[in-house]
């Protein structure tokens, strides 16, 4: 009877094992396979713009191209003119400040600081023509630059210092005949070079992303899914999804991994549990600036040194600028492990004119969140630190005029005079300059969202669940298994084990000795 029961049990066990093995080998397509299939199918536009008569002509000025575009795509320019790409401004609820229009006009950064007074150069990346100063007409649809985003010939180029106008080398007719959906080149031309050079700002968006390898970015690699920026940053009526928390405050219009991958993309439930508190990026972007270095520290206070009266530059052995007379000194980093923060999707910003406390680093954008916040998750960020100019009397940051367009206009990059640069720059933002300046430490927090690694390179459990030097060592307010423990329980627990062990050893030894003695005396 026993034997029968035993063999039945064994049989059941074997059957169970076989079932499990078979289940795992079943060839149903996973959600990931379905996504791959979806993006493997590329639709080709049926329309051929090179055959339109409206475009087969010479265009004297870029606005004429826009007029030609609008003649068929009527209403589209109006959509663009509602976008943040055009207005460089959003009306948002900012924690502690209320409803404010925030954007490049009133938010300062700690790279090139701000556009005010410098539009001629900075606004090369505006999707319009001629945004050279604050008087730019945002209501003229002919100033919309359709080509910057829709050129598919990779020959379109905006002129340096041209306030958004195309370079004289551009054949407008050719470009107009080769338009289509935005490619990585269209977006990257501006978004990879923000802050005055490749990878200066983001760390996870730079020129290697024009054609990244799979190790750099699984989504955009041509040997991967070869996705374009707009596959995730999709648009309805020219309103793109996704934005950067350097200039936005509210938890809306975000692109999230979950949109495609769902909140439970893993086969392992323990990993799926993590999505409640940990953003996908945290594990799947182990490092940023994988190919080229990104700027980590920018010290404006050392700017202005001249050699023989001339500005100069110094490069490190890798050819990266470490000093520029016009900008100061820099520290760069490559293959950086991100910092980690709790983030709930809302932020606040230092706005032009806000007073500051020079005794401690000023956070130009504060990303909110904590463990107790049900909307917050752990996100990876790049922290960019700087020393930048501020008014020591009025105690606010200074918007300096850096770019010089004509002699004597105060532009720092020509005159190397902070007083003049401050005076002229502050006029642009309608604030007084006291005549006294200093340099204050500032920080900016840039969420890291790109350069997603293949899953084999994802952050491993033990990199956070560890007592020493874990990736999350600086995050507090919650119990992380493997990292946290109660010191009292640990002390008493280990003490109990030591005492128990000592007791058995002592007891056993005495027993052994007494036993021997007794045997000897017998």
């Amino acid at each position: 009877m026993k034997r029968i029961a035993f063999s039945l049990l064994l049989l059941g066990l074997v059957a169970g094992l076989i079932m499990t093995a078979l289940h795992k080998n079943s060839i149903e397509s996973t959600p990931l396979d379905q996504l791959r299939e979806q993006y493997a199918t590329r639709t080709k536009a049926s329309v051929d713009h090179s055959r339109f008569l409206q475009l087969k002509k010479h265009f004297a000025k870029p606005q004429d191209v826009t007029a030609a575009c609008i003649s068929c795509h009527n209403g589209r320019a109006a959509e663009v003119m509602h976008s943040t790409h055009w207005n460089w401004e959003r009306t948002e609820y900012v924690e502690g400040k209320g409803i404010r229009a925030i954007g490049k006009r009133n938010v300062l950064n700690n790279f090139c600081i701000g556009i005010s007074g410098n539009q001629q150069s900075c606004n090369r990346c505006h999707i319009g023509y001629g945004y050279a100063d604050a008087s730019f007409n945002f209501n003229d649809s002919l100033n919309v630059d359709c080509l910057a985003c829709h050129d598919n010939s990779a020959t379109y180029l905006k002129a340096i210092g041209g306030a958004g106008l195309p370079d004289s080398s551009v054949n407008l007719s050719f470009v107009a005949q080769h338009v289509g959906k935005p490619q990585r080149t269209n977006c990257g031309t501006c978004h990879f070079f923000g802050g005055g050079g490749n990878n200066v700002k983001h760390g996870d968006l730079e020129m290697s992303m024009f054609d990244p390898s799979r190790d750099v970015d699984v989504h955009m690699a041509s040997e991967g899914s070869d996705m374009q920026c707009v596959d995730c940053h999709s648009a309805q009526k020219h309103q793109m999804l996704g934005k950067m928390y350097s200039v936005s405050s509210m938890n809306r219009g975000r692109v999230e991994c979950e949109h495609c991958h769902s909140a439970m993309p893993h086969t392992d439930d323990v990993l799926n549990d993590h999505t409640l508190k940990v953003a996908c990026q945290t594990c799947h972007i182990p490092t940023y600036a994988k190919v080229n270095p990104t700027k980590l520290f920018w010290d404006w206070s050392t700017a202005g040194r001249l050699r023989n009266g001339e500005p100069f530059e110094e490069k490190d052995s890798a050819g990266t600028d470490v000093y520029m007379s016009i900008k100061g000194s820099f520290v760069w980093g490559k293959n950086i492990k991100p910092d980690y923060i709790w983030f709930n999707g809302t932020a606040s910003h230092y706005l032009v004119g806000d007073t500051l406390d020079p005794s401690r680093p000023l956070q130009l954008n504060v990303l909110y969140g904590s463990y107790d916040d049900p909307d917050a998750k752990i996100y990876p960020v790049k922290i960019h630190r700087a020393k930048q100019i501020y008014d020591t009397q009025y105690r606010y940051l200074i918007q300096p005029k850096t770019v010089s367009t004509k002699p004597g206009d105060g532009g720092y990059w020509a005159e190397f005079n902070w007083d003049r640069a401050a005076e002229e720059g502050m006029k642009q933002v309608n604030l007084p300059y006291s005549g006294h300046y200093g340099f204050v430490q500032t920080e900016m927090y840039w969420p890291v969202n790109h350069m997603v690694s293949p899953k084999s390179q994802a952050v491993q459990c033990g990199e956070c669940h560890t007592r020493e030097n874990g990736r999350l060592a600086n995050l507090s307010g919650f119990y992380l298994p493997g990292r946290n423990y109660n010191p009292w329980v640990e002390f008493l627990g280990v003490g109990l084990l030591v005492l128990t062990l000592a007791a058995t050893v002592v007891h056993g030894s005495v027993r052994f000795l007494m036993n021997r003695k007794r045997k000897g005396s017998n």
């Binding site: 033990g462 669940h465 560890t466 298994p481 493997g482 109990l496 056993g508 007494m514």
Partner: protein, 219 residues
């Protein structure tokens, strides 16, 4: 002396399976706790979870067995001879004094064992199982979303689980050692392997107190 069948087949299976599981859970658990490194954190979690479920299944069978056979009565704590048993371990054992209580098939646990085992069964193991289940399921993915029990922090759960773990390891050490204090150093071990143990025979003046051995369910 008489050879008696003291530990039934299931009882021995239960004992050794439990021993293996507790050792394994201890190693993987303290790795998760951050005290040791052996399998790697991710594997430790995976193994710990599988072993935990196995342990719970074993506990369910063990409870069923104890209830249906009435063996649970063996664990009823008693004051009787408790002091004598403690004194035996402190003094008598060194002088080769006789065990203060006699081991019989119907009463195979001494008063200290009864107390400690009962404590494990009604306190330590339940705390371990309940905190462990909460640890595992306090947020659990269901229906394509994560449903979360409204527990502010994992800390209370984790700390309770850790306290119970320290107690179990301490018990494990003491249990190993006290296992050598039988009639001979290895007699208890042999008995737990084979089921048979040489026990003192009943004598007229030292009649064992009969322990009820009827199934509880029929009572």
């Amino acid at each position: 002396m008489k050879k008696e069948y003291v530990y039934k087949a299931f009882e021995r299976f239960w004992h050794w399976a439990q021993a293996a599981l507790i050792i394994f859970l201890g190693v993987t658990g303290f790795e998760i706790h951050g005290s040791i490194r052996f399998f790697g954190f991710d594997q430790a979690v995976r193994y710990h979870n599988v072993a935990a479920i196995s342990f719970i299944i074993l506990i369910v069978f063990a409870i069923f067995w104890h209830l249906t056979t009435g063996e649970w009565r063996q664990y009823m704590p008693t004051w009787k001879n408790l002091r004598a048993q403690a004194e035996y371990y402190v003094f008598g054992i060194f002088r080769n004094a006789p065990h203060p209580t006699r081991k019989t098939v119907l009463s195979k646990l001494n008063p200290l064992q009864k107390l400690v085992y009962a404590g494990l069964k009604v306190l330590v193991i339940p705390v371990m199982v309940v905190s462990g289940l909460l640890y595992m399921f306090y947020r659990y993915p269901q229906h394509n979303e994560i449903l979360s029990l409204n527990i502010g922090s994992l800390e209370v759960i984790a700390v309770l689980h850790t306290i119970a773990a320290f107690l179990l390891v301490s018990f494990f050490i003491a249990h190993l050692y006290l296992g050598t204090t039988g009639r001979t150093v290895t007699s208890n071990l042999k008995a737990m392997i084979t089921g048979y143990e040489e026990l003192e025979e009943d004598s007229v003046d030292n009649k064992a107190q009969p322990v009820s051995h009827e199934p509880v369910l029929t009572k």
